[in-house]
């Protein structure tokens, strides 16, 4: 992610905000689209393109769950574990997936294919227990077997051109 690319992305929206600080979050989201996480260079590019200090940009980024300051897998599997999902077996789904991926709880598979995360309510409790790949459609209700199928399908599928997490 270069500063120039970011500037081009931001140019058409600059007029929508009275303070360029508002561009930081869109810029971070966009910058994350490339590698799927925000490496220091991406963050530095955001700082430059928006005109705020790197420390400030990092501070903002670190506040949000879906901006990753550490590398994550090619796809992030977000399993909701909040109350409605828990009541309908989200813990079992999570454990099943961790098992299937060979992970000890949350983490990233050795091959860098998947990160498995527990997340808080993703607004789809009607589909509990549910999960979400990156910021994609909330999928559910799931049985453990559905979840592993999903992973298999994902393994086949190519990584998206740009990430939206």
């Amino acid at each position: 992610m270069t500063t120039h690319e970011l500037e081009e992305f931001l140019a058409p929206m600059r007029h929508e905000y009275a303070d360029p600080r508002s561009l930081i979050l869109p810029a971070l989201r966009y910058a994350q689209g490339d590698a799927g996480w925000l490496d220091p260079q991406a963050m530095a590019a955001v700082a430059e393109a928006t005109g705020f200090s790197q420390a400030y940009v990092e501070s903002v980024a670190s506040f949000y769950d879906r901006l990753y300051l550490e590398p994550v897998g090619r796809r992030v599997i977000n399993v909701c574990v909040t109350l409605s999902c828990m009541l309908r077996g989200s813990d079992e789904i999570f454990e099943h997936l961790a098992d299937y991926l060979g992970l000890d709880g949350e983490g990233t598979t050795d091959d860098g294919m998947f990160s498995l995360h527990k997340v808080q309510c993703i607004g789809a409790c009607d589909r509990a227990p549910c999960l979400q790949i990156d910021a994609g459609q909330q999928i559910g209700p799931l049985e453990p077997a559905d979840a592993t199928c999903l992973v298999d399908d994902l393994r086949e599928a190519a990584a998206p051109a740009r990430y939206d997490r």
């Binding site: 869109p26 077996g89 409790c125 009607d126």
Partner: protein, 432 residues
């Protein structure tokens, strides 16, 4: 099944209204048409007369809030739609956005006309990636059709909407934290006063409303505020979307006329009831941040005042149901973990207290409780957190746990000394 007299056109028409043409065919933009024929002040008065209350959680009268915005400040006035919908158990805004985005856009345009706003924002939670796409497409379509843009409110009278995407933080649903986030800062609540109506986005007068609140405006302006006010009762007029989830057979969103439907009807008639042989044990009727109530309160009609009467809140309408297979301590622990994770960390009682609550409850659940001592500790912690923080998140963290302890004290005492094995979850596929 189409709902008669629904406030939300997609429900009335039983259809997805995701293109402008379909929306207009379903009566879309008649509300704006009517609004533009009156003066902004009359429009404000109509909001007021409808009795519409904020659907984001606090239930503050929408028209009154809009009338707080100072005029002629020399600064722009902004409208911000709160589409952060992160309250556990709540997914009603998602439905409106997915199936009926134009009604929200029209509602915002109407509000824009009334308060003299030219640029509005929709702050949507980052996790709503797909829903964000739907909204973005709808905004573009509306703009291309001239429904947004330089002449949206009539020739030379601009109004436009910017979609702003969050990135994962429940606290950004709190209105001032949302504004901070929208200003490119860490999403931490501001000290109030000043209130957003006076000094909101970029220090300018700002009207913040929930998706459901703003989306209710088109039918109100189309059919008239009296039509709306005639539904429900005096203090809780109109309809409300309830999201029902948890141990019910048919989870989903249900629109009910306030004050007419009881909690029991919502759970058993609308949400399909429970599994064979199961009984309701606990209900969080307005999202996870409200006090939990038990089986004995099932027959209350759902409206703001009546729910207050049984010690809880209507909140966001995210109704979470747990049957008697569930463990109340485990459920409380899970919620405490949520609040610990979501505390923004700005103020001491919440930053430290939510973590402490979660740790104690976690120990109890895992059989490492210290009996009565833990119960006393919990009780004293409640008082040290609630009412003492910068924003209401911490109160929301305490209320469900405190009420659970009050209601199910014996179970807490037992778990505090014996622990709580994980119960079998409900794995039934929802009906319908």
């Amino acid at each position: 099944m189409p709902v008669l007299n629904s406030v939300f056109r997609h429900r009335e028409f039983g259809d997805h209204l995701t293109s402008l043409v379909e929306y207009e065919r379903a009566g879309g933009y008649l509300g704006l048409q009517g609004t533009l024929a009156m003066s902004p002040d009359d429009a404000l008065y109509a909001f007021h007369r409808s009795g519409l209350r904020g659907r984001g959680g606090a239930g503050f009268p929408m028209g009154r809030k809009a009338s707080f915005l100072p005029k002629d400040t020399g600064k722009p006035t902004y409208i911000v739609c709160n589409a952060d919908e992160s309250e556990p158990g709540t997914f009603k805004d998602r439905e409106i956005i997915e199936h009926n985005p134009f009604q929200l856009i029209e509602g915002m345009t109407i509000a824009g006309y009334a308060v003299g706003c030219e640029r509005a924002y929709i702050y949507i939670r980052g996790e709503y990636g797909v829903q964000g796409e739907v909204l973005a497409a709808a905004i573009t379509e509306a703009r291309e059709a001239g429904r947004l843009g330089p002449d949206a409110l009539g020739p030379g009278r601009p109004f436009d909407i910017t979609l702003y995407r969050g990135a994962g933080a429940y606290i950004c649903g709190e209105e001032t934290a949302l504004l901070e986030s929208l200003e490119g800062k860490r999403g931490q609540p501001r000290l109030k006063p000043p209130f957003p109506a006076v000094a909101g986005l970029y220090g300018c007068p700002t009207l913040i409303n929930n998706v459901e609140t703003l989306a209710a405006l088109p039918p109100i302006m189309h059919r008239g505020p009296d039509w709306y006010a005639a539904m429900g009762n005096e203090k809780s007029p109109g309809t409300k979307l309830f999201s029902v989830s948890g141990h019910v057979l048919k989870p989903g969103n249900f629109e009910i006329v306030l004050g007419e439907t009881t909690l029991r009807e919502l759970i058993y008639d609308l949400a399909g009831g429970l599994r064979e042989g199961r009984e309701v044990k606990a209900v969080w009727p307005g999202g996870s941040s409200v006090p939990v109530i038990g089986r004995e309160s099932l027959d209350v009609p759902l409206d703001y005042e009546t729910l207050n009467g049984v010690g809880t809140f209507l909140g966001s309408g995210g109704c979470i149901v747990m049957d008697d297979s569930g463990c109340i301590v485990r459920a409380s622990w899970r919620l405490a973990q949520f609040y610990r994770h979501e505390s923004c960390g700005k103020c001491t009682p919440c930053r430290e207290g939510t973590g402490w609550l979660a740790k104690i409850l976690g120990r109890m659940v895992h059989g490492e409780g210290r009996g009565e001592e833990d119960i006393r500790m919990l009780e004293s912690l409640f008082g040290r957190i609630s009412g003492r923080t910068l924003c209401p998140l911490a109160d929301g963290a305490v209320m469900p746990v405190q009420s659970a302890l009050n209601l199910f004290r014996d179970e807490f005492v037992r778990v505090a000394s014996e622990g709580s094995p994980r119960p079998e979850p409900m794995m039934e596929t929802p009906v319908g």
